[in-house]
């Protein structure tokens, strides 16, 4: 099955081990798609933090809503100001 992220990684010829942790796509600062999360750490309208394999990701902004959340994928809607990865 076609996977967008796999295609990019294959094309860029990067070592596989380092790049199969999580993927994040920030669409116009209004929608954030993340796959590969390991659980939610913090949920508020200004900050959403979730665990990844080796650390956590913090999404800061305003009016943040978890539009969709399942075991592996999450969508965050709202005004996204900053996305920070903390290892």
């Amino acid at each position: 099955m076609f996977n967008f992220f796999d295609e990019i990684k294959t094309k860029m010829k990067v070592k596989e081990d380092a790049l199969y942790d999580y993927n994040i796509v920030n669409i116009s600062g209004r929608l954030l798609y993340a796959e590969g999360h390991k659980g939610i750490l913090l949920l508020s309208d200004k900050k959403v933090a979730f665990k990844i394999k080796k650390g956590q990701v913090e999404v800061c902004g305003s009016g943040l809503i978890l539009a969709e959340l399942n075991e592996n994928v999450l969508f965050i809607q709202g005004k996204i100001e900053r996305v920070e990865t903390i290892s």
Binding site: G39, I40, L41, L42, L43, S44, D45, I65, L66, A67, E68, L69, N70, E71
Partner: protein
């Protein structure tokens, strides 16, 4: 409306842990934190009970739970006892009344008979319940009651009792109404073959169109008059006449060949434009035609084309002797117009009457023809 979901408002601490546990089993939508302790989110309608149990395990209080979507709509409808009872009653009433005949229809009857039959059958039926109507019995009763009906069929279609009838086609002998046979032409009777009826003419009689030839009755041996259809083959010498009149001196109008065209435009009947300038011819004939310029009623414009043909009068002097054969032939052709196919001409005669400057030619064709109806 199409998404069937439940919106859950929760209150409690450590909600993230509960959510992490929830997402392993169900999908969560639109999670929003209102306050430190209060959040709300949506789950699929079918998972609401599972989510409630899981939240209980995590000591998360469910402050509110509301459902939306089309499934929820129908579920609420089913639980709305008043509506369901009303629906059930309507269905029951409809099913009940469907067992009854609501109207009687009659087809194939003429002259007000259908109304009579409808009233008769309506009185005949003891009950309008379909199961108690014997269609065969109704057919029998209608056939016995109305002698002028040759066949009848009765059927229950939907909530109507449909009756199809065929009326008896009474032959003329039984209806007792006959008309006499009359002559269709003027002539002299020369051959009679009577089949049925009483003769009104003899061979050698001269008859006019419309004269009675055969009466529609006979007398039996006891002198009783019996009506009957008159039938006979009656042949007569019939005269076909064509006439032509010739005048020695006539004035005729002839076109010179010159013509002019005038166009006029009308708004309805109001002349708004004309191309006519001045008097073109002294003597002329006119032909016109009108055609519409527009195909709407808001602006009804019509174009009238007038064609003027110049004419002149000429004096024609022709002596009868010079054109006699032509005049006779014209008269003959006029007489032949009335000749029918396969008729044999017995005799042809020409009569010429003369006056002051004129001659009248009568061409008479005598032939034998069946003048009865």
């Amino acid at each position: 409306m199409m998404k069937n979901r439940s919106k859950i408002t929760i209150k409690g601490l450590n909600q993230e842990r509960a959510i992490n546990h929830l997402v392993k089993h169900v999908k969560i939508f639109n999670f929003k934190r209102e306050d430190n302790n209060i959040s709300h989110f949506e789950v699929e309608y079918k998972n609401r009970n599972k989510v409630k149990k899981m939240l209980d395990k995590h000591n998360i209080e469910i402050v509110a739970l509301s459902n939306f979507g089309i499934v929820n709509f129908f579920t609420r409808l089913i639980k709305s006892y008043g509506v369901m009872i009303g629906l059930a009653l309507s269905v029951a009433l409809y099913a009940g009344q469907y067992n009854f005949i609501l109207k009687i229809e009659v087809f194939g009857a003429k002259n007000g008979l259908s109304g009579e039959i409808m009233t008769f059958v309506d009185d005949l039926l003891s009950s309008k319940l379909k199961s108690q109507i014997d269609t065969l019995e109704v057919e029998k009763q209608v056939r016995d009651r109305y002698a002028q009906i040759s066949s009848v069929s009765v059927a229950i279609i939907g909530q109507s009792l449909v009756i199809n009838v065929n009326e008896v086609d009474v032959p003329e002998e039984m209806s007792g109404k006959f008309l006499p046979m009359v002559s269709e032409y003027d002539g002299r009777v020369n051959q009679i073959q009577l089949i049925q009826g009483t003769l009104a003419v003899n061979e050698g009689d001269i008859v006019k169109k419309g004269d009675v030839l055969v009466y529609p009755y006979i007398f039996d041996s006891q002198g009783n008059k019996i009506d009957t259809q008159p039938k006979a083959d009656i042949y007569a010498d019939v005269w076909l006449i064509g006439e032509e009149v010739h005048h020695d001196y006539t004035i005729q109008t002839q076109r010179t060949g010159a013509k002019a065209e005038i166009n006029e435009v009308y708004l309805n009947n109001l002349l708004i434009y004309s191309s006519a300038k001045e008097k073109i011819f002294d003597n002329f004939e006119v032909e016109c035609c009108t055609k519409p310029l527009t195909k709407n009623i808001v602006l009804p414009l019509n174009l009238k084309k007038i064609t003027m043909y110049e004419v002149q009068t000429i004096e024609v002097k022709e002596d009868f002797s010079q054109v006699k054969s032509k005049i006779i032939e014209n008269a003959r052709q006029k007489a032949l117009i009335f000749l029918q196919e396969n008729e044999i001409i017995k005799e042809e005669n020409v009569n010429v009457r003369e006056g002051n400057g004129w001659h009248q030619v009568s061409y008479v064709i005598t032939l034998q023809r069946n003048i009865g109806g």
